[in-house]
């Protein structure tokens, strides 16, 4: 049984300008100890997918229209609030792109790190503080005994990210959801944070969902990757296969637009146009307006994520019809 099993998740936002189908039929699972990467451009629904699992969708305007998210046998979307509380923040925790969304600027870091322990475990304040100190040292904060009493603004961006990681890991979660935790950081600090997440993962044996738009980050960190476009998963495979043998035209285009993989000086490959507006009704394949292989059939039928083999699934209708999509 997978640790987390999400089926047919649909999260919509009802706004004055219409209904935004931010996540529109997403199914995936995560095994114990596994690292799953979720990649896609901004607005593709990566964060909303994870916020839905974590119960962080503002309702209204948001609404989880359908779906289940079983964590170790308990459906987080339909269980009692008490059951949900025993899992979220303890067995599943989350870190964010901007640490200030989870750190309270007016509270000393010490108070914030021990809070999940005081809520979830029968532990004294003193023991909780001792654990917090050990955790801060583990995430590489020098002089932690002094700095634990600082306020968040007294840390640099990279250190705040470490504090947030310490806070997320202190309950020894089985699943960590990391939403672009390094996007705002320098590459040098990013390298430190990625190493830290890898190390903590090995030590705690936890599973990680790592959201990013950087395919480079995915390649070193993740066992499996899924690519999202307009609220759906268009391709999923083990990392090596996704890089060596991407099949969906969007994955292929995304990969070709990475500057590092293209010869210098040549014009960069670009995906024409813009991601679609998910408040509009999109007939058929959402990528069709930008896809170099689109035909009339692509807008006539709704693509589904179908398996190519046991570890590789994708949602292009033409690939599913057995066609070879060669670039001209």
């Amino acid at each position: 049984m997978p640790l987390l099993n999400v089926q047919d998740l649909r999260t919509h936002f009802h706004t004055r300008n219409g209904v935004y189908r931010a996540v529109d039929g997403v199914s995936f699972s995560v095994e114990r100890g596994e690292t799953l990467g979720i990649v896609g451009e901004s607005g593709s629904g990566k964060s909303v997918t994870c916020y839905s699992i974590m119960g962080l969708i503002p309702q209204p305007p948001g609404r989880i229209v359908s779906g289940t998210a079983f964590f170790d046998g308990i459906d987080l979307l339909h269980c009692s609030p008490r059951q949900a509380r025993s899992i979220r923040g303890k067995r599943v925790s989350m870190i964010f792109q901007d640490p200030m969304t989870s750190l309270n600027p007016f509270l000393r870091v010490s108070e914030q790190i021990i809070e999940p322990l005081l809520i979830h475990e029968n532990i004294s304040r003193r023991d909780a503080l001792a654990r917090a100190l050990t955790m801060l040292e583990a995430v590489g904060i020098n002089d932690a005994a002094k700095r634990i009493h600082y306020y968040p603004h007294e840390f640099s961006g990279g250190m705040r990210q470490r504090v947030m990681i310490a806070m997320a890991l202190i309950t020894k979660p089985e699943l960590l959801i990391a939403d672009e935790p390094t996007t705002a950081l320098d590459v040098t600090v990013q390298a430190q944070i990625l190493e830290l997440i890898g190390k903590m993962q090995r030590e705690l044996g936890m599973a990680v969902i790592f959201i990013t738009h950087d395919l480079g980050v995915v390649s070193g960190l993740c066992d499996r990757v899924q690519v999202m476009y307009a609220g759906r998963i268009v391709e999923t495979a083990d990392t090596r296969t996704l890089f060596k043998d991407p099949r969906h035209p969007y994955t292929r285009a995304l990969q070709r637009s990475i500057p590092a993989l293209q010869s210098k000086g040549a014009e960069l490959y670009t995906i024409p146009g813009l991601p679609p507006d998910v408040s509009k009704n999109i007939p058929g394949c959402a990528f069709a307006p930008r896809c170099e292989f689109a035909t009339d059939r692509c807008t006539a039928a709704n693509p589904e994520l179908l398996e190519l083999d046991a570890t590789h699934a994708q949602a292009c209708l033409r690939v599913q019809a057995g066609e070879t999509l060669a670039r001209t």
Binding site: E41, S42, N142, S156, G157, G158, M159, L185, D186, V187, T188, V189, Q190, A191, Q192, L194, E195, H213, D214, L215, G216, V217, V218, S219, G220, T239, R240, F243, A253, L254, Q255, S257, I258, P259, A260, L261, Q262, K264, G265, E267, L268, Y269, T270, I271, L274, P275
Partner: protein
């Protein structure tokens, strides 16, 4: 040198740190830019990289005379900007334009595209009022925007389109030099490539000189002819883009390059990475001697004595490291 358009000689930009509300006390100095020597060639694309806070934006603002220089000279086309009269500065401003990272913040939300692009044309009287509309349309076409969107406001455009408007505004006065401060950092991968292509194409077509600031080295390598690497207010390495990024010489550049995740799962898992310990140090009390020495794997006692100067290392490269000859 006849092919140089911009010369920086020992440029310093320091900011006083003051404390106190009514009576300001001077308690220290941020040496944001601290002795930069750089000759920019006519028509080249010069990439400027370095960690957050190393002084890239301050150097950009210094070149444009948007902050008072503490020392040194900025010479544009033979004219010393620091000693220019206001009238001369106004003329120099036409030749020097800037594009900012955040296309949301850098455009006035209450001005239509037309008003945004017409303003510099009218202020600098570069075209007669009756010709303004035609020139605005021409500028929009140049950056790949349809002139029919002329009466729209910034919020009606996507991030990539807004950056096109900002580029069009920078081009309005037909400048000789454009300083682009992280112009693609806030954009999605597929949109980044579109803007990079546009900048590359425009520099060729209009024989522009471009100073391109970024923290993504693969992007910088792609677009730049030469690259300058900054550390704590100083340039530590300068050379041809492919050389500097593929065969970095300075220990800091080596660490910076090695921190970039590569989109190749096979090599990414096995390659040796230099992970720098600690945060970038503060420019308030920079370490004595070579400012990189607390993080440098090759540091020795001699490194703490004096700040190394940028010296030639072969015909096309300059490196600031006293131990250059001993490095592997």
């Amino acid at each position: 040198m006849s092919d140089s358009i911009l010369q920086l000689t020992d440029v310093k930009t320091h900011f006083p740190i003051t404390r106190g509300f009514l009576v300001k006390r001077h308690i220290g100095t941020v040496k944001a830019v601290d002795g930069v020597n750089l000759t920019v060639r006519r028509g080249e694309v010069l990439g400027l990289v370095g960690e957050s806070g190393c002084g890239k934006s301050t150097l950009a603002r210094t070149i444009l005379q948007l902050v008072p220089t503490t020392g040194g000279t900025v010479v544009l086309n033979g004219r010393n900007l620091a000693t220019s009269s206001d009238r001369e500065l106004l003329a120099a401003r036409r030749d020097l334009q800037m594009v900012f990272q955040d296309p949301y913040a850098s455009l006035n939300p209450r001005m239509t595209v037309f008003a945004t692009l017409a303003e510099p044309l009218l202020v600098h009287r570069v075209c007669a009022p009756e010709d303004v509309a035609a020139r605005v349309a021409e500028l929009m076409r140049l950056v790949g925007l349809a002139p029919r969107f002329m009466q729209k406001y910034p919020h009606e455009f996507s991030g990539g389109q807004r950056q096109r408007i900002a580029i069009a505004r920078a081009l309005a006065l037909e400048p000789k030099v454009i300083v682009a401060d992280e112009p693609v950092s806030a954009l999605d991968v597929s949109i980044q490539a579109q803007i990079l292509n546009l900048l590359a194409q425009l520099t060729k077509k209009m024989n522009l000189t471009l100073i391109f600031i970024a923290h993504d080295l693969s992007v910088v390598k792609h677009i730049s002819d030469r690259v300058a690497v900054m550390y704590l207010g100083k340039i530590v390495e300068l050379g041809l883009a492919a050389d500097v990024i593929e065969r970095p010489r300075h220990p800091y550049t080596r660490a910076l390059v090695s921190a970039i995740p590569t989109p190749n799962p096979d090599t990414e898992r096995t390659r040796q990475r230099i992970v720098l310990a600690g945060d970038p140090p503060s420019p308030i009390n920079p370490p004595a001697g070579c400012a990189f020495h607390p993080r440098c794997a090759y540091a020795q006692a001699q490194c703490k004595l004096a700040a190394p100067a940028l010296v030639a290392d072969g015909p096309t490269r300059e490196v600031a490291c006293v131990r250059l000859a001993d490095l592997p």
